[in-house]
C-alpha cells in the first residue's frame, strides 16, 4: 500500500465524477428529496417520521454508494483499465483504498446534507448527537462501497450490476427493522436479520434517536458495521486478479 498512489487514485475517481455533474447532483439531492417526501407522507404522525427518518439517514448512503461503486468498478474491469493498472506497479489496496476514499468523501457530503436537512429543516427529533448519526452514515457508505466493489466482480455488464441492487440490498432493507421491529419478527427471519449488516446500521441510528449519550449498543453497532465493511473490502480485493484467463 502506497499513500501517494492511493491518493492519486482517489483524485482520479473524483476527477472522473467532476466531468459528470448530473450524477453528483443525483447522488446528493435524491436522498434530500426523499426525506422531504417522507416528512409530508407522515405529516400527521411525527413519531413515525422520527423512527423511519433516522433509519433512512443510514440507509441512503449505503444504497447510493453501492450503486455508484459497483458500476464504476465494473467499468474499470470492462474498459481494460483495470488490467492495465494491475500490470503497473499499483497495489490492489491502493485501488480499493482510492475508491473508498473518493466515494467516502462524497458520502460525507451526502450525509451532512441529508442529516442537516432532516434535523433542522424537517424537525427530525433526535435526542443524541448529530455527530453520532453522521458516523453511522459514513460507515454505511463505506459498507455500500465495499459491497458494490465485491459484487462488481460477479457482474458481466452494467445491466447485471444494477440487478444486484435488489438482490443484495432489498432483503437487508426488509429485515433491518425498518418495517417491523426485529425482535417481533418470525424467529428464522430474526436470525437472518441478525447476520445482515444493515440491521446494525439501523439499530445504531435508533440508539442515537432515543439516547442522549453514547450507549454500549451503539458502540457495538458501529463496530459491527465497520467490521463488515472492512471484511467485504478484503473480499473485494481478493476478486481483483492480476492474472486472468
Amino acid at each position: 500500500m502506497n499513500a501517494a498512489r492511493t491518493l492519486a487514485t482517489a483524485a482520479r475517481v473524483l476527477r472522473q465524477l467532476r466531468h459528470d455533474p448530473r450524477s453528483i447532483a443525483l447522488m446528493l439531492l435524491v436522498p434530500c428529496v426523499m426525506l422531504v417526501l417522507l416528512r409530508y407522507v407522515f405529516d400527521g404522525s411525527a413519531g413515525t417520521f422520527d423512527a423511519i427518518g433516522a433509519s433512512l439517514l443510514g440507509i441512503f448512503p449505503l444504497i447510493t454508494m453501492f450503486l455508484v461503486t459497483s458500476i464504476a468498478t465494473l467499468r474499470e474491469r470492462t474498459s481494460g483499465t483495470l488490467e492495465r493498472l494491475l500490470a503497473m506497479p499499483l497495489g490492489k489496496a491502493d485501488l480499493i483504498g482510492g475508491y473508498a476514499l473518493a466515494f467516502g468523501a462524497l458520502a460525507v457530503i451526502q450525509s451532512v446534507l441529508a442529516t442537516t436537512l432532516a434535523l433542522w429543516g424537517l424537525g427530525l427529533d433526535v435526542i443524541g448527537s448529530a455527530w453520532l448519526l453522521l458516523l453511522v452514515a459514513l460507515l454505511d457508505a463505506l459498507l455500500g462501497t465495499a459491497l458494490g466493489l465485491f459484487v462488481s466482480a460477479f457482474a458481466a455488464s452494467e445491466f447485471q450490476a444494477v440487478q444486484f441492487m435488489p438482490a443484495v440490498i432489498f432483503p437487508q432493507l426488509l429485515l433491518c427493522g425498518l418495517f417491523t421491529a426485529r425482535d417481533r419478527m418470525q424467529p428464522l427471519l430474526e436470525a437472518i436479520s441478525n447476520v445482515l449488516p444493515m440491521s446494525y446500521a439501523v439499530d445504531g441510528m435508533n440508539e442515537v434517536l432515543r439516547h442522549t449519550d453514547l450507549t454500549t449498543t451503539y458502540v457495538r453497532d458501529v463496530l459491527i458495521v465497520a467490521g463488515c465493511a472492512f471484511l467485504v473490502l478484503g473480499l473485494g480485493a481478493a476478486t481483483l486478479r492480476r492474472r486472468t484467463a
Binding site: A4, A8, T9, R12, Q16, S79, T81, E83, A245
Partner: protein, 302 residues
C-alpha cells in the same frame, strides 16, 4: 524507480530518424547489435484457457533493443502470448523470462509498457488527466511531480496529440484514442514495450509516424514486441515471430524469411510456411487435422 535518462530528448515523431525520403519500404532497417541476454526468453511456454491449450509449448527469444513483430491471423494466440509476457495471463506453464526475471514479477511492472488491443483509458477524463494519473501510479509522490509533468508532455508530443491534450478521451476518434493508450505505455520510458496491434485503424501517415517513433524508441535501447495482423508492417520489424494456431511458424529477420522461403514479401513467406505446415499436418494424419479445424472455428483473444 524509473528515471528519464538524461539527454534522451524526446524525438518528435514527425522528424523521423530514418530519412523521410525512404518511403514505406520493403527495405528492412539495420538492426542494432543485440546484447547477449535476450529481453524475453520462452522455453516450453504453454497457456491453457478453459480446457483448451491456446499456446503450445513455445520456444523463442526476443533480442534486446530491437523491434520484434508478432504476426499471424486474428485468433492465433498473439494477445495471449503478450498477456503472458506482461504477466496478466493466467495458467501459463513453462519458463518465461522477461528482462531477466520470471514474467509477472512485481519488479517488472514499472519496466514494461503494455498496450492492450482495445484502448484502455478513462473515457471521462481528458487526455492529460489520463496520463497524469497513470504517471502518478508509475512515479508516485510530490517529489516526482515535475518529472511527471515533463514525462506527460513528452509522450503527448510523441503520439502527436498536443492539440487534443485537454479533450475528453471519450470525444476522440478511434485512432486518437488508441494513441492515448499508447502514450500511457510510453510513460516512464520502459525498457520493454509490449504493443498489441497499436496501429489498427490508423491512417497511413499516422502509421508511418508511429513506426518511426517505434524505431526511435528502439534506437534508445528499448525492446519492442509489436503484434499485427497486417503483413506489410512486418517489413518494418528487425525480427519476426510468425504465429498460427498457437504455434510459432518462424522466428527470423524479414530478409532471411524471404530468402529462406523464396517469397518476394513477408506475406508470401507466411503463406508458404502455412501451406508447408498444413501439408505436414495432413501427412501426420486426420486426427490432427480435425483438431486444428476446431481451433480455428473458436473465437480467441480474451
Amino acid at each position: 524507480m524509473m528515471n528519464i535518462p538524461p539527454g534522451s530528448s524526446p524525438p518528435d515523431p514527425r522528424t523521423p530518424q530514418e530519412p523521410a525520403t525512404s518511403p514505406e519500404p520493403p527495405t528492412s532497417p539495420e538492426p542494432p547489435a543485440p546484447p547477449d541476454a535476450p529481453a524475453i526468453r520462452a522455453e516450453g511456454v504453454t497457456v491453457v484457457r478453459g480446457a483448451r491449450p491456446v499456446l503450445h509449448a513455445l520456444d523463442f527469444a526476443v533480442p534486446r533493443g530491437q523491434i520484434t513483430g508478432l504476426l499471424g491471423p486474428s485468433g492465433c494466440g498473439k494477445s495471449t502470448l503478450m498477456r503472458a509476457v506482461v504477466g496478466t495471463q493466467a495458467k501459463v506453464t513453462g519458463t518465461l523470462t522477461v528482462l531477466g526475471r520470471p514474467a509477472g514479477s512485481a519488479e517488472l511492472r514499472s519496466r514494461i509498457g503494455y498496450v492492450t488491443q482495445d484502448p484502455s483509458v478513462y473515457a471521462d477524463l481528458t487526455v492529460r488527466q489520463n496520463l497524469d494519473y497513470f504517471s502518478a501510479v508509475l512515479q508516485p509522490g510530490r517529489a516526482a511531480a515535475s518529472r511527471r509533468r515533463d514525462d506527460v508532455a513528452r509522450v503527448i508530443t510523441e503520439v502527436d496529440l498536443t492539440s487534443h491534450a485537454d479533450v475528453l478521451a471519450g470525444k476522440l476518434s478511434g485512432g486518437q484514442l488508441s494513441r492515448v493508450s499508447l502514450a500511457v505505455a510510453l510513460l516512464g520510458t520502459p525498457e520493454l514495450l509490449v504493443l498489441d496491434e497499436p496501429t489498427v485503424g490508423l491512417d497511413p501517415v499516422l502509421r508511418r509516424d508511429l513506426w518511426n517513433l517505434f524505431h526511435a524508441i528502439a534506437a534508445r535501447g528499448a525492446t519492442l514486441l509489436v503484434s499485427s495482423h497486417v503483413m506489410d508492417e512486418a517489413e518494418r520489424c528487425h525480427r519476426l515471430l510468425l504465429m498460427r494456431e498457437g504455434e510459432i511458424l518462424a522466428d527470423d529477420s524479414p530478409d532471411a524469411l524471404r530468402t529462406h522461403t523464396g517469397a518476394a514479401t513477408v506475406e508470401g513467406a507466411f503463406l508458404h510456411l502455412v501451406d508447408q505446415a498444413d501439408a505436414t499436418a495432413t501427412a501426420a494424419g486426420a486426427d490432427t487435422n480435425v483438431d486444428t479445424n476446431a481451433d480455428t472455428r473458436r473465437r480467441s483473444p480474451r
